[in-house]
């Protein structure tokens, strides 16, 4: 009797846990539906749409299976309790094993187990085939002739972006912000120079690893103009979490205007202060790692700063590109990204002012 009571108490506690877990799941899935600039459930391209469909298929199948299993579990617990109450008094206490033909109930249960196992195998195969076919579709070329080819190189902890062109003078390098034309397929070649990274723009496509010594290629297309956030999805060191980037999908004419702008050299310093800023850049630590096209600064260790003022963020999506952030970042980058390759810079206040002024002029 006491066993039955304990069991019953157990059962109610279990079901209350289940209820809470279910509620949490529902809240989570509702929150995920909101979408935004970084959500796989808010697809804006053909690849992401396939992935989202696959995700929802998995979600619905798993949800149904979960509910069924829980119902069966609760039913089994209740039935066992009833049976135990019935048989407790009738049972003879003896050491002899009772050999009796399996009752009808036993056979029914065997059938249920066999049926459930078969259903599990079938469901797993359905999911396997669905997953495999989506995987195949993702790694397929979208169209034969892609006009835009972009090479993305993962660095600890930022993204170098190179726009290829048949004419060598049109090739340019930027960082942490990828512009693409809306509705046109884009080839993205993925490389790494140090450790493994992973390129992931959930709204546009799935993850693809960047492996040193290897070139991985993906194709993507944005069907709606907008700003999509991407993120490194393979742990790559201290600042893995601060290794983000943005994909900006522009209408074609706007994209072409951006291309033309990026292909040009950096703006010449217009004011005396900007001129001083350029001098500071060339004589301080900056010049050891950064490039500004059209000047003597030509190192490729850090992000290319030729058109840095045109970008939305600095430090790989870590800080908004404002005067204040830029000067704090230059003075003390280790506060924002501990471990980043960029060293702290001690500059005289007026030198720092001039430098920030100059960098802000590099549209």
């Amino acid at each position: 009797m006491s066993g039955a009571i304990r069991l019953r108490g157990h059962g109610t506690r279990l079901s209350s846990y289940l209820l809470r877990a279910g509620a949490a799941l529902a809240v989570l899935s509702l929150a995920a539906c909101r979408g935004g600039v970084q959500s796989a459930l808010d697809p804006e391209g053909p690849q992401a749409a396939r992935l989202a469909k696959l995700w929802w298929l998995f979600f619905y199948v798993s949800a149904v299976v979960f509910v069924l299993v829980m119902v069966a579990l609760v039913a089994a617990v209740r039935r066992a309790r009833v049976r135990r109450d019935e048989t407790l008094t009738a049972l003879d206490v003896t050491d002899e094993p009772t050999v009796a033909p399996a009752p009808a109930g036993e056979r029914r249960m065997t059938n249920a187990v066999v049926g459930a196992t078969a259903a599990t195998v079938v469901i797993m195969f359905v999911l396997l085939v669905a997953s495999f076919s989506v995987g195949r579709a993702l790694s397929a070329r979208l169209e034969q002739n892609n006009k835009v080819t972009i090479e993305v190189t993962g660095e600890q902890w930022w993204w170098q972006v190179r726009y290829w062109d048949v004419a060598a003078e049109n090739i340019f390098i930027t960082a942490n912000e990828i512009h693409i034309p809306v509705g046109e397929p884009v080839t993205v070649q993925l490389k790494s120079t140090d450790v493994n990274h992973s390129f992931w723009v959930p709204n546009l496509t799935g993850k693809k690893d960047l492996i040193p010594g290897k070139v991985a290629t993906i194709w993507l297309r944005a069907d709606r103009a907008g700003l999509y956030r991407g993120q490194c999805a393979e742990f790559c060191g201290f600042q893995h979490a601060h290794m983000a980037f943005y994909v900006v999908a522009d209408p074609p004419e706007q994209f072409n205007a951006w291309l033309a702008e990026q292909r040009g050299a950096a703006a010449q310093p217009a004011t005396a202060q900007q001129q001083r800023g350029q001098q500071v850049f060339m004589h301080a630590t900056c010049v050891m790692c950064h490039t500004i096209q059209g000047t003597l600064a030509g190192s490729n260790i850090g992000p290319d700063l030729t058109h840095v003022a045109g970008r939305r963020t600095i430090a790989a999506g870590t800080l908004e590109n404002t005067r204040e952030n830029l000067s704090s970042w230059i003075t003390d980058p280790q506060t924002f990204k501990p471990g980043t390759r960029m060293p702290a810079n001690k500059l005289a206040p007026e030198d720092l002012q001039a430098l920030v002024e100059y960098l802000q002029s590099l549209k």
Partner: protein, 203 residues
Amino acid sequence: MRQRKTNGASSLIPHPSSLRAVALSAWLVVAGALFGACERERREFKPAPPPAPLGNVAQSELSPGAPQPTPPTKNPAEDQAYALNEGKRLYDQYNCTGCHFHGGGGIGPPLMDEKWIYGSDPANIFQTIVEGRPNGMPSFRQKLPDDQVWQLVGFVRSMSGQLPKDVSTTRDDHMNARSSEQRTEQQGPVSTGGKPKSAEQSH
């Protein structure tokens, strides 16, 4: 106690609780050793303010009057494997390889042998990088933060095996003509011009 005395056979077997105590203390010793290893080196994200600027650094052991031995300078980067690895990375990225190649020298003097034109002390190498040297070595004054210079100094010294093997860098990912700094036998150091020939270490 009395109980144990009467029961002779079982007193040979240690009491379970004392066995447990032995196991626990052994486990604590092992764990302590393992955790101690975690603290072998600590990585500072914000390097301490650079050491005091170097004054007059002796470039030769020749001096008027009685020899005045100077204690070797302590390089903050030399007992950290991470710092030396950074030195190796910077050596490549700042294009030291452009002249010194991977230690073998070419346009600039080799760095993996026992000869040190301007001295083998960390302070000498620091000064070489910051001030530059005649006939080609440029000055990197203001272009490199002090802690990066110390990292480079450490790596340069490890090229001729001056540093312990447990901090020296391992092999490159790319093809390399020489073995890693970790496996380099110590060379010299001999500063050219300094000591008379007979005092040079023979190899």
